[in-house]
Symmetry: C2
Subunit: 418 residues, 2 copies
């Protein structure tokens, strides 16, 4: 029978109340390990009756979530209550294995952990009635994400270049991961590989024009290529300013998206200023390491920057503007301006892989700003063989919180099947 | 006697259970207004006994927070229960006045609202035992903010320029607001007015070198001046790259801040690309409107960009690097790249004023990313007479959540007096 880690304290309450003889020591341990405040510990110490003391410990811990069971288990081990610790052990094993699934032990992850993650599905909201969840769902400070299909994801995946730019090994992993992640998050995903500069713009414009955006909650762009400063390379070596890509989805050109969120994820270099920790990973694995997304002084055909053909804002739609054209955009970059981004040729880029790891296990609970803090943290853990490192960077003009609300749609919320 | 809005339902429970004769209508109203799910409404409809039905309504609403009392009040008005509505009215008045204090009715705010806000203190954490609060306080995904003095705030307030750049009227309001806000948030604030380009760097370097950063939780910079693209103007017209300012606090130059958060707030133009809603405020108030922070093709002495004297990273400290130099920075800009920022000459800049309004009423509950969404939203509401508008922009390389935790320090938490 499956062990429910949330029931660790309830299922063992009777035994703990009956058998724990040194509750004061346990309270001291919990205080030393920050699960109890000073006041909480003092209340326990002041309780003269054993049963009441033990119940007070459990009731106080009951408000501490899953940390509580683990803390109590360790407290029992530390206070010569190994029989009680054994009662909790099966629950602790489940808690620990769940925790470990949330976060890889190394970054980039080893292939075993990566495989395990890839078999997992996006976690879904399981309780339609949860008040805090409903509170956020209908809150005016939260973007409305409640269509059965939230919107479109357009993926540009440039791998093979007609110029001397290197083949972007591992990018196919990123593309697969992005596609399945956003499909599970209830988006309709359209992917194109190996587009020239002009074809990137053409692809996005054509796909955009097919959609009735009034029926959509939002749009997501994922751009994977080599890059430099503010531009993204087409397979012909033409550099397209990212701004030319994002402005296709500004309200003046796409009025159905007015005041709706646009999320943009960019896996590309933004310069060549490397930083190193002056240590390196020390592991010499030839041809098996993380590589950059930059141009690295290679001689490029078409290296000169050519602006894409600008599209004029639709004059009829000018009156529609209710917020600044930059508002409601969030652009997440693999790396800070001026620096290279890194990609592992087997598990994919540090950045997009961190997006998958984070969104998969946290999208049902956390707002996107907070998920992206986790992404920044994961990316910052990466090191190349030479010790090079980076951190992802978020440019945020959103005006509201953004939740994916995986598993539910409509208002009042209903479960999405499948 | 003061009315406690949280007690609206409890204090009137007996009367409501006794006197409400059409609970089904009330449940329907609450469902139509999204306070009840379909299931919640159906449970009420299926309950045959009046008393039990009414208790079920109250118990279900009890999990809905302050929205509940307001929703029930409106439901009573809508279902011909005006006597019951009157019972709730005093609580609703308190709830509404509290809500209104959080957010001005217009943006920029009128002087009456602004005065009222300025008399308010920063809201503080009032319950040391709140589990969710303690959870965040010691969570490894939250920056440690728990010294009695959190750190330093350095304010640069350039108002009068030796060049033809206009006097920045209203900036003194911003400076006062910033100083009192961050003092109340337990920072030690150092302000300098009217610095030349080189003196801005000199001021920051000297102040930085006075501090034992190992004893500090973080640093905050507030820069107020005219600006252009990536630079900030000194009073002599010299443009200093913002990067030159922020790198003074990178770990290589300030190792005591390694892995600690650095927050930077920039009130300055970043270009001259104006956007308008093509409507305008329609109010003609000569000399009483919002002005920009830009240079506007004025002939400038010293307009040419001169790089500040670069400071070399301290070689001894190189080994200290554990994360990328950009990590743990959050830079909040008044406006997107390439566009002008706006300032109201009486109440201060749209952006910094939005920071004060938001941090004052939400810092005790909300994480900084979420407060900055509110700031983006407030700034996006502003319009000049000509209908010009903007939105603030956040560049975020933080790796953890950031709470100000106003009112408490130390671990386990204690109240800060005063």
């Amino acid at each position: 029978m499956a062990v429910d880690p949330k029931k660790a304290l309830i299922k063992n309450r009777v035994a703990i109340v009956r058998d724990l003889d040194n509750g004061d020591d346990v309270a001291d341990y919990l205080y030393a390990n920050k699960l109890f405040t000073e006041d909480m510990r003092d209340s326990v110490l002041q309780e003269p009756e054993k049963d009441k003391k033990n119940r007070l410990i459990l009731d106080t811990l009951g408000r501490r979530g899953q940390k509580a069971a683990k803390g109590l288990h360790d407290a029992f081990l530390d206070t010569e209550n190994s029989d009680l610790a054994k009662l909790l052990a099966p629950y602790i094993r489940v808690i620990e294995s769940e925790e470990n699934r949330y976060r890889p032990k190394e970054w980039p992850p080893n292939s075993e952990e990566q495989d395990k993650m890839q078999k997992d599905s996006v976690r879904r909201i399981k309780d339609l009635k949860s008040p805090s969840y409903i509170h956020e769902y209908t809150d005016e400070n939260v973007y409305e994400i409640r269509n059965k299909t939230r919107g479109k994801v357009f993926i540009i995946n440039n791998v093979e270049f007609q110029t001397k730019l290197s083949t972007r090994q591992g990018s196919e992993k990123d593309a697969e991961n992005m596609k399945s992640l956003f499909t599970e998050l209830h988006f309709d995903v359209v992917q194109e590989d190996n587009l020239t500069g002009q074809d990137m713009l053409k692809f996005l414009k054509e796909e955009r024009n097919k959609v009735d955006w009034n029926a959509m909650d939002c749009v997501i762009l994922v751009v994977m290529s080599h890059g430099h400063t503010t531009g993204i390379f087409g397979t012909d070596g033409q550099e397209i300013e990212l701004k030319k890509i994002t402005e296709l989805f500004e309200s003046s050109q796409c009025p159905g998206l007015n005041e709706k969120p646009r999320l943009v994820f960019v896996q590309a270099c933004r310069g060549e200023n490397k930083e190193s920790d002056h240590i390196g990973t020390g592991v010499q694995v030839s041809g098996n390491d993380s590589v950059t997304e930059g141009v690295h002084a290679m001689s490029l055909i078409g290296k000169d920057q050519i602006d894409a053909v600008a599209e004029m804002p639709n004059e009829d739609l000018k009156e529609k503007k209710t917020v600044h054209s930059a508002a409601d955009f969030l652009i997440a970059y693999a790396t800070p301006e001026g620096t290279p981004a890194y990609r592992h040729i087997h598990v994919g880029s540090w950045f997009l892989n961190a997006i998958v790891w984070t969104f998969k296990y946290h999208a049902h609970q956390e707002e996107i700003q907070h998920m992206l803090l986790k992404v920044n943290e994961l990316v910052s853990q990466g090191r190349t063989m030479a010790g090079n490192l980076t951190v992802s960077e978020i440019k945020n003009n959103l005006r509201k919180k953004f939740y994916f609300f995986p598993g539910v749609y409509d208002d009042p919320p209903k479960f999405i099947d499948g």
